[in-house]
Subunit: 110 residues, 2 copies
Amino acid sequence: MSAERAKHDVFHAIADPTRRQLLKLLSKEEMPVTAISANFPISRTAVSKHLRVLAEADLVRERKSGRETRYSLNPEPLRELQDWVQYFELFWDNKLNKLRHLLESEQQGE
Amino acid sequence: MSAERAKHDVFHAIADPTRRQLLKLLSKEEMPVTAISANFPISRTAVSKHLRVLAEADLVRERKSGRETRYSLNPEPLRELQDWVQYFELFWDNKLNKLRHLLESEQQGE
DNA sequence: GAAAAACGAAACCATTTGGTTTCGTATTTA
DNA sequence: TAAATACGAAACCAAATGGTTTCGTTTTTC
């Protein structure tokens, strides 16, 4: 039930540079579509489609208000990304080797 | 000179689940293509293409050894991803609001 | 009430993507 | 030296992607 496979996951959602810019923009404040798309060289419709991809990954929330739809950032799903990248942090700066040496010396009682 | 725009950046490279699996696999040890592709339900050629995408993003390094090509993880470019996601960490748990309150109280000398 | 504004839906298009199979070329091995 | 192994290159294909324009609907404004 909780493992609902979204059609667009976080990794896919942030792959596109325009969508990353959208997230940055929306991190500052909630905004309606037209105001958002004023920041991009592509059509409002194109921006709208990107927003839907982000919404499917739950990275943005939409709130209807009269004739406009306001979008805002929901950063929570980015935790998955952070968790993922954190695994590899182990391999930076030879951290793995350091850990291995640590474990070996522990085993020898020193 | 240093700002060479790679055709495939890190964000694009990790968007595909197969490629993420490849990185996990190669984090354990350096491996030749055939051994790698034994872990996947797709053809060796398909795996090879994924590896090239990863190589273009500099996430893997290739080393020729006789008739085989051994691939290994290079985690360094993932830092860019971590930096990117770190920005948004600010918005988790209302950290931004906490920071704002902190700054306001500082300004008032308390 | 008519005009304007804000938006989504739909149809369409070129390019990219992720996969396949087939073939050629080195390098090992028997 | 002949056969087998490891691999990349190339041609091909269906589906997804990122964009467009056009049109309809709802809400606001004049």
